[in-house]
Each structure stands twice: as C-alpha cells, then as structure tokens.
C-alpha cells in the first residue's frame, strides 16, 4: 500500500531556507547594531584604525564578512543536502 509523503527535497530545502534566513537575521542584527553604535554620530577624535580600516568598519563589517564566508562554506559542505532532481518534464 503506497503512502503519500512530502517530497524529500522539499523537507531539506525548507529546513535549509529557514537556517539561511536565520543566518541573514543574525548577520543583519550584529552588523547594523555595531555600525549604528560606533559608526554614527561619533567624535572624530576618538577614531582608531585596525589594519588601516576605521575601527567600526573593521569590527562591524570586515570581521562579520569573513565569519559569514566561513559559515556559508560550512553550510554548503556539511549542512546542505544533495537531492536528486527529476528529469525535465517528469
């Protein structure tokens, strides 16, 4: 007796979509939060430089950019599942 189930690709795709959106949300909150706090309305005298970047650019954008790149690679190679795609027209 065949049982009707949800497509396996649909399940993994839905889970991956939610995780990806979660990563986006985390990155957005961190970057915007950091930059709003330290990049806006600041006394120019207090500005320092990290590796040549203004400090808030470095910690608020360059570092999370690197972290996101690493997370994306982990996501791609260890989290996202491969699924068979149907033949065209099936």
């Amino acid at each position: 007796m065949p049982e009707i189930q949800e497509l396996p690709l649909l399940k993994s795709a839905r889970r991956e979509a939610l995780v990806a959106l979660g990563i986006w949300l985390a990155a957005t909150i961190y970057s915007l939060g950091y930059c709003f706090k330290y990049g806006y309305g600041r006394d120019p005298e207090t500005l320092t430089y990290v590796l040549g970047f203004p400090d808030w650019v470095f910690w608020g954008l360059v570092v999370p950019w690197g972290v996101c790149t690493i997370i994306a690679s982990i996501f791609a190679f260890w989290f996202m599942k491969d699924e068979d795609l149907p033949e065209s027209g099936q």
């Binding site: 007796m1 065949p2 049982e3 009707i4 189930q5 949800e6 497509l7 690709l9 649909l10 993994s12 795709a13 839905r14 991956e16 979509a17 995780v19 990806a20 959106l21 990563i23 986006w24 990155a27 957005t28 970057s31 915007l32 930059c35 709003f36 990049g39 806006y40 309305g41 600041r42 120019p44 500005l47 430089y49 590796l51 040549g52 970047f53 203004p54 650019v57 608020g60 954008l61 360059v62 999370p64 950019w65 690197g66 996101c68 790149t69 997370i71 994306a72 690679s73 996501f75 791609a76 190679f77 996202m80 491969d82 699924e83 795609l85 149907p86 033949e87 065209s88 027209g89 099936q90």
Partner: protein
C-alpha cells in the same frame, strides 16, 4: 600629477584591450552556438539545456552588473566608508541566493518543464494569468536595470577612445576643458554649445558599438554565450580589482593614510555614517542601512536573472559549491573596491563625475608601470565585460519573456521553430534599439536606477515565490495579489517620492505643489539625490514596506479563496512511498 603628453598612446592600448574582449565574447558566442545546436531550440537557447556547473552558476547567478564597477565605486567615492555598510548584506547574499529557494526552484522547473519564471509559475498554479502578470513585471523591471547598463558600457567605450579618457584625466578635471580641446580640433559639434552637458559624440559611438556587440553575440549564442562571457568577465574582474587595490592603496600611502587624507580633502564625515555629502542630504541613515539589508537579499535571490540560472543548474551539488565559491568571490570584490575608492580621494580628490572613478583610477595607477597601458586596458575591459555580460543576460530574460510567455503562449501557440527563432531575433534587436534610445540622455546616478528595479522586483516576487515553493495552500489569486500588491505598493511609494521631489522644487509657483508637500511632508533629505528618490515611510525604503504588504495580500487572499485542487498540489509536493 599627470603629464599631458602621452595622450593618444594609452588610449589605443585601452581600446585594444576592449576589442580583445569583444572578440573573445563573440568567439564564446559562436562556441555556445555549436554547443546548443543539437538540442531543441527554445530550451537550448534560453536555458543551455540545464547543464550549468558550479563556477558558471556561482559567478553569474548574482549578476555582477555595471553597477558594481561604476555606480558602486561612485557611491564610495562620494560618501566614504559608510558605503561598505550599504553593501554589507553581500556577506550573506551568496548563501541566501542558493539556499532559500534554489533547490526547490530547480525541482519545480524540471517538474513543470519550464524555462522561464513566468512559465514555471503558470504551470505551478495552472493559471495563465499568473504567468502573464509575472512576465509583464519581469520585463518591466529588467528593462530598467538593463538600460542603466547601456549607459555604463557606452561610458567605458568613450573613455577608451584614443585621446579621450586620458585627455579628460589632465590636471584640471573639468569636463569642459576636454570639450574645449575637442572643439578646437573640430571633432565635436553638438556638445560645445551647452557646456552643462558633458555627453559628447564619443558616448554615442560607444553606445552603438556596445549595443551591436552585445546584441550580436547574444543572438548568436543564446544563454550559454551569456553565461560563458559572464564567467570570463567575472574572472577578469577579480583580477582587475586585485591589481587595482594593490596599486592604489600603496600609492595613497596605505589604507589608514588614505582615510586620513580623504578626511583632509573632504571632512571627517567620510569615515562615519551617514556618510560624506556635499548637498546636505544624509546618504545612509540607520533606517536606510536597515533597508539595504533587505533590498540586496530579497532583490537578489528572486531576481529573474538569478532564478533562471538556478533553474539551469545541473544538480544540487553544483548549488552547494556555488555558495562557497561566490562567498569567497564577493570577499575579493567588494571590500577591495571600497579600499580603492577611498584611496581615490587621495589621488583624484575632486572628480566632477564620480561615476568615472574606476576608469580614471585604473589609468592613473598603471601609468608608471612597464606595460602599464595594457594593464589599465585590461582593468578597464573587465567592467566592460561585466556590463556586456549582464546586458546580454537581461536581453535574454526579456526576450525569453516576450517570446515564450507572450508570443508562444498568447499570440501564436502553434508557432513553428522557424517562427520562434524569428520572434527571438526580432525581440532582441528591438530591445537593443529601445535601450539605445533610452540612453541618448542617460540618468545621472546609475546605481539609483539599479536599486530601483532590484528592489521593485524583490517587492513583487519575494513573497509569491516563497509561497509557490513552500506553501501548499497558495492559490493563483493569492499569487496575483501578492505580486500585484507588492508591485503597486512599491511603485506607488516611488511615484509619491518623485511627486514629492517635484513639489519640493515647485512650491513657489504652484499651489498644487504646496498641497502635495502638505500631505507628504518636506523632502527628508536622505538617500541619493535625483529624480528617482522614493518616498520613505519612517525613513525606511519602500521595498521593506512592500514586502510586508505583499505578504499580507498574498497570504490573506490565498486563505479567503478556494483551496487549490489537492491532486494538482500533490503533483508538486508529494511522493508515493511503497511501504
């Protein structure tokens, strides 16, 4: 800084590099034509028979447009470090581009045997209206983005013209000086009477050469030609950016020194939010920064160009690899570009037209090097290639929409292959002609137009595409409501912004303008200047509001309309497992 003596030489080498690039693209076009000849015309021409590999998918799916090399650097040059926050969400764009709807779209497009997005949506809901509406919207949005690219392509050709770019680089940075010199040589007639218009005849020549090339090789090779030239230019671009940043930053005395000099040349605003500005307009307020984190993401993965490439991906493994490749690629492009343009504030402190910052920088930094002229030619050729590639992609998506979604579906369902081919050729040439006409008097800020259409497309499609992929209860009416309400809301707010813009300028003379201002409030003085400034509710971009409204409309309408037939939905959601 520059000797005015070698005027012609570097010009020729840049032109030479561009011609090489054009030749390579046409060659790739003919290769692509051979590769697809055997298969069915439509699927081969518009989807490359679903065989894209990881590199091709990664480096071409989020189109590196002319905006990347022209509009974006111009913004950095004008406003400073804050522009890295403006583009900051690109740190997660690669992930979201493929992980949110990629697999599911690839699956659905195969299940429905469709090769355009409207086709897919029509089959998914068994409703031609969904197809027609999405098709019209895609054609509209892509046209805006594409027209902006033509300007960029023509501008680069103009600079590559022997004697033009370098002449414009002479010490006094005044476009009128270049024009006077040209007028003296008797080469221009149209541009000299009104000095306020810095567009000259070379721009038109560039526009025509550019258009003929792109339309030509896209006609020859179709989707694969577009993807291959895109891949080729993406590699060239990362090389170009790397050379540029490695030369420019040391020449400006290091990155920290570049920032300090930029502060001296402008003000300390250039290293802080909301950015340096000469017109009293706050470039990136916190509300707009937040908006950009929505715009790039949700304008990205549902952009028609991106969806079509995901549909053409060979397998899900290809998508996984693409996430990683594109993430690394973006790191190498955006941060170095910002560094280069910060350095430009030291080396070219007072550019009249910030759009030209990269072409001018590449000519300037390679000047002293052995073979520098050729290197600068290559750096200039890379963005030219980027622009060609994205234009070619847009022409394809637009004409696939015109041909498949409108001609075949509505006008002539029984079209023969020869007729389809002819319709394809006609639509592509037509699109090219319209683009030329639209660019005879191009808008000032390229990136503003790109943003307008990217966020407009995102506003219309994000929620409906997510619903089509993952929600069984979605109805055709819900899709239509989601798309149309998102679209209309976005355009409504944009139109309100234009109206407000006009009214702000006309309050003295018109009572209607005063009543508009009374209703909409005064110009908030945020964002980029120009005609295409939308109306910001609470300082947030219309895109974000449109997403919210589109979600309410789409979900609400689906819930109050009759549920879709279970056996139809089951075809896309279920599988029978034998226990």
């Amino acid at each position: 800084m520059l000797a005015a003596t070698d005027i012609t030489n570097p010009g020729y080498s840049v032109l030479f590099a561009l011609l090489l690039f054009i030749a390579a693209s046409v060659w790739l076009g003919t290769l692509a034509q051979k590769a697809m000849e055997k298969k069915e015309f439509l699927k081969g021409f518009f989807l490359g028979n679903r065989g894209l590999g990881a590199w091709a998918l990664a480096l071409t799916a989020t189109v590196q447009s002319g905006g990347t090399f022209m509009g974006f650097p111009a913004l950095v040059y004008s406003h400073g470090w804050i522009v890295l926050l403006w583009i900051g969400s690109y740190m997660v764009v690669p992930l979201l581009s493929f992980a949110v709807v990629g697999k599911r779209l690839a699956q659905l497009s195969r299940m429905t045997d469709s090769f355009t997005v409207p086709d897919l949506l029509r089959e998914r809901f068994a409703d031609p209206r969904v197809g027609l509406v999405s098709s019209i919207m895609i054609i509209t949005f892509m046209s805006f983005t594409m027209f902006a690219q033509f300007k960029a392509g023509a501008t680069i050709m103009k600079h590559a013209w022997p004697g033009s770019g370098v002449l414009a680089l002479s010490e006094d940075y005044e476009p009128t000086a270049a024009e006077k010199a040209e007028a003296k040589e008797g080469r221009t007639s149209a541009s000299s009477p009104h000095d306020s218009k810095p567009i000259d005849r070379k721009y038109y020549v560039g526009l025509v050469v550019f258009t003929v090339t792109v339309v030509g090789y896209t006609l020859i090779g179709g989707f694969l030609a577009s993807v291959w030239t895109d891949l080729f230019q993406s590699v060239m671009m990362v090389i170009g950016v790397t050379i540029l940043v490695c030369l420019a930053v040391p020449m400006a005395g290091g990155l920290e020194q570049a920032s300090r000099t930029a502060i001296e040349n402008t003000s300390s605003d250039i290293v802080f939010g909301p950015g340096f500005s000469t017109n009293g307009r706050q470039f990136l307020t916190p509300g707009l920064a937040l908006s950009m984190f929505f715009i790039w993401i949700f304008g990205g993965f549902v952009s028609p160009a991106s969806m079509v490439r995901v549909m053409a991906a060979e397998s899900t493994e290809v998508m996984r690899k693409s996430i990683c490749l594109l993430s690394c690629y973006n790191c190498l492009i955006y941060i170095p570009l910002v560094m280069t343009c910060i350095a430009a504030r030291t080396m070219l402190p007072h550019l009249e037209k910030p759009d030209e910052v990269i072409p001018r920088m590449s000519m300037l930094v390679t000047k002293g090097l052995p073979g520098g002229q050729f290197i600068s030619g290559l750096i200039l050729a890379a963005p030219f290639g980027a622009i060609m590639a994205s234009v070619s992609c847009f022409i394809l998506v637009i004409s696939s929409g015109l041909v498949q979604d409108i001609y075949v579906r509505f006008l002539n369902p029984a079209a023969t292959e020869a007729q389809i081919r002819r319709a394809t050729n006609i639509s592509m040439i037509g699109v090219g002609l319209i683009a030329v006409i639209a660019n005879l008097d191009p808008p000032q800020y390229l990136q503003a137009l790109v943003v307008l259409s990217a966020s407009g497309g995102g506003a219309a499609f994000t929620i409906p595409v997510l619903m089509a992929c993952y929600w069984r209860r979605t109805t055709a009416a819900g899709m239509l409501a989601g798309m149309l309400v998102g679209f209309c809301f976005y355009f409504g707010l944009s139109a309100a912004g234009w109206l407000q813009n006009w009214a702000a300028a006309a309050t003295e003379s018109s009572t209607f303008a005063r009543s508009v201002i009374g209703l909409l409030g005064p110009d908030p003085k945020i964002g980029v200047p120009g005609l295409f400034r939308p109306y910001y509710i609470f300082g947030i971009d219309p895109m974000v509001w449109s997403l919210v409204v589109s979600a309410f409309a789409g979900i609400g309408t689906s819930l109050v309309t009759k549920p879709p037939a279970e056996e139809h939905v089951s075809r896309f959601f279920d599988v029978a497992v034998v226990k």
